[in-house]
Symmetry: C2
Subunit: 414 residues, 2 copies
């Protein structure tokens, strides 16, 4: 469909969906937003006004996503609803023949993930998880290092969603945010993919490797109560609410080839933002928190005095900047689509235009999202190990020889 | 026994024991080294020569530690043997009425830890685990922050033994190092106390809190083989040896009051040294790797740009430097006993002289050391959760009102 515009309906235009329209979707030559949907009419109307302003399109407005799926002039949907709707809307969209780009979040059950995979397998409708962090500058640089053998054999990765969301969660009524109800009632690794996505690409998950089991352990929940006590006082009804969601959830994943992954949910205590990305190989290591690379044979003398090397990752950009970022930086900002949000949508729309496989496909989506449900299960069982399903039905052993993700993406840079 | 010298026998004088004599034990006014023991005679003789050189004492030399325990003129023993002997020698020493200072390591079974506790309870002989990292400058500063309420409620701590030991382990035959056999045959968190000790003090373990369960997960073992391939080549017999010890072991511990602790063994891949100390509270956080403090209400504007705050922990020293370190820095180096090795022996010898309880007692020792055996068990069971025994027999609930560790130590600063 390279000659014509991709006609997009966006489903869910809260804060994230609205910003995606503004920063990553509108003002593309080959994309036309033809429908906007949100369960809150005011949000849908605001989004339509934005589309009118930026692209001079009159998008159809609705509060029922099924209306969008019925539209003949919709080629693809972008789903940026509350977490609870991601999989159901994705399945319904695939069954309606609409290509799916789905925002990130975790699954509520493993069965949901199976349903998602089966819907894809039955329909063949392309679907991509829009994990922007897979397109982060340093995540891609490190992936490039791994692909080029600089790291040696990778045996361990770490990452986290370290993001102080106390305001967003605590004021969830005021801002109609789905996180509040999830933090009130659930306890698990509710947002694994920002860190797990890039790690899965490093470890070739679903392409000759897979996650086989995990344990998950939650701390107590103290952060939101302390925050609400300070912001709202002791008489506010949520101040004393027994939030189910632990402040820190640590999930340890084992992979088929013995690699381990540690991911951390860390959203209700004071700290600065980080995705805590670390990759550990037999020849080198990368540490996001000090933005540094340890290269065996070069840095060993700094063993006990690493501080002077903090931030040295910058010096590796010349050699290892990923082609996607090289091109992006050379081209300058394109239509305001800066950084990883722009790049993940570049990848999505270009895969559609070129009729190529999605770089983050349904098997990645199911494997990454199921971690949330499995984390809840492990925590419920006192941190018992639980198995990660093989959503590929054994095809992960065959997929080793397919072009890897970085290679597929590099087509963007032709 | 404040008027007389403490007569010490040191058992195990490999690299660590020799250096302890040199840096932390000899040249003390109130300490006299009267016996040195090592299973290798040459080591014992070298240690005796050092004692002669530094203190002009003629220490008794033996290769059998039981000889030392029989000596009437030995008041206390310092045990710095291979890990395997720590608990047995400690038990035998307590039964012989010799006060024990034992170097750190992990236990080989939970039963060993029970035997240790029972020997103490039956004999009443004082025993201290010589965990020097409890006396680290920043570990103590952070403990002080916690005690003063600066952190709010602490809900999560992290630490690691991040130390590239590939040379020490791989050349274990040449340097007669016990780590080699352990890395060849065992797989677990073999060295937990450097990070767990300071964390246990932060979380009041055995004083109103305790560790209740853990999971442990090991990565594959690739680091030593890659290292040996480079250093010794493919024909060296150890190069292809299937080392049991995984490169990265992640252990997640839950405590009675819902706090979680993550500790990491990380000794066979290239990287710089760190103990990865992190303390997370409802009001503030400390991160060793960036040597920074995040203070709620003060640093929130740096949420997405933390880099300018790296190293800011230095600015907290004026307010929170622990009294032990204040005094230490004001006094200057005393007899070459610099830093935490000197301070842990200060504490040990002063507890003996003043007839005070040991600041790291037999219950701490058993609780911290058992983590190794439990980690092996959890890994053997596919990361299954295992319970941490209560070695205090319920007395941890009563010990809340005892003077806490920091307070006891502050007597040093009188």
């Amino acid at each position: 469909m390279s000659a014509q515009k991709i006609r997009v309906g966006i489903i869910g235009v809260g804060c994230r969906g609205y910003n995606l329209l503004k920063e990553a979707i509108c003002k593309r030559e080959n994309v036309e937003v033809v429908a906007v949907c949100d369960e809150y009419l005011d949000r849908a109307e605001a989004a339509a006004a934005l589309v009118k302003e930026l692209d001079n399109n009159d998008a159809f407005i609705t509060t029922d996503y099924r209306d969008v799926l019925k539209m003949d002039n919709v080629d693809a949907v972008v789903i940026s609803t509350a977490w609870e709707a991601h999989i159901q809307v994705s399945i319904d969209a695939m069954r309606a023949g609409k290509i799916v780009g789905c925002e990130v979040g975790g699954a509520y059950s493993v069965d949901d993930c199976w349903q998602l995979v089966r819907a894809y397998e039955e329909t063949g409708t392309p679907i991509m998880l829009l994990e922007n962090c897979c397109y982060g500058q340093y995540e891609l640089m490190v992936l490039n290092m791994v692909k080029k053998g600089f790291m040696g054999e990778v045996v361990h990765c770490r990452g986290g969603y370290h993001h102080d969301l106390r305001e967003e969660v605590s004021f969830g009524r005021e801002n109609r945010h789905y996180r509040l109800r999830n933090y009130m009632h659930r306890n698990g690794e509710n947002y694994p993919t920002h860190e797990l996505g890039p790690i899965a690409k490093v470890l070739n998950i679903n392409r000759g490797n897979r996650m086989i089991s995990l344990t998950s352990t939650s701390s107590s929940a103290k952060g939101l109560n302390a925050y609400l006590m300070e912001k709202k006082g002791p008489d506010y009804d949520l101040t004393g609410f027994p939030f189910a969601q632990g402040d820190i959830v640590t999930t340890v994943i084992r992979c088929a080839h013995g690699e381990t992954i540690v991911i951390t949910l860390d959203t209700t205590l004071p700290r600065a933002y980080s995705r805590g990305f670390e990759v550990r190989g037999t020849k080198a290591a990368y540490f996001e928190d000090t933005h540094s690379v340890f290269e065996d044979g070069k840095h060993n003398e700094f063993d006990l005095d690493w501080k002077p090397q903090w931030n040295n990752a910058e010096t590796y950009r010349e050699k290892f900047e990923h082609p996607i970022w090289q091109k992006f930086l050379n081209d300058g900002l394109r239509g305001g689509h800066g950084g990883m949000d722009g790049l993940v949508f570049d990848a999505f729309f270009e895969a559609i235009t070129d009729n190529r496989p999605m770089p983050i496909d349904v098997y990645d989506m199911a494997a990454w999202m199921c971690i949330t449900a499995l984390s809840e299960e492990s925590i419920a069982k006192g941190s018992a190990p639980v198995a990660v399903p093989d959503f590929t039905g054994g095809r992960w052993c065959l997929r080793t020889e397919e072009p890897d993700w970085a290679f597929a993406l590099s087509k963007i840079c032709e």
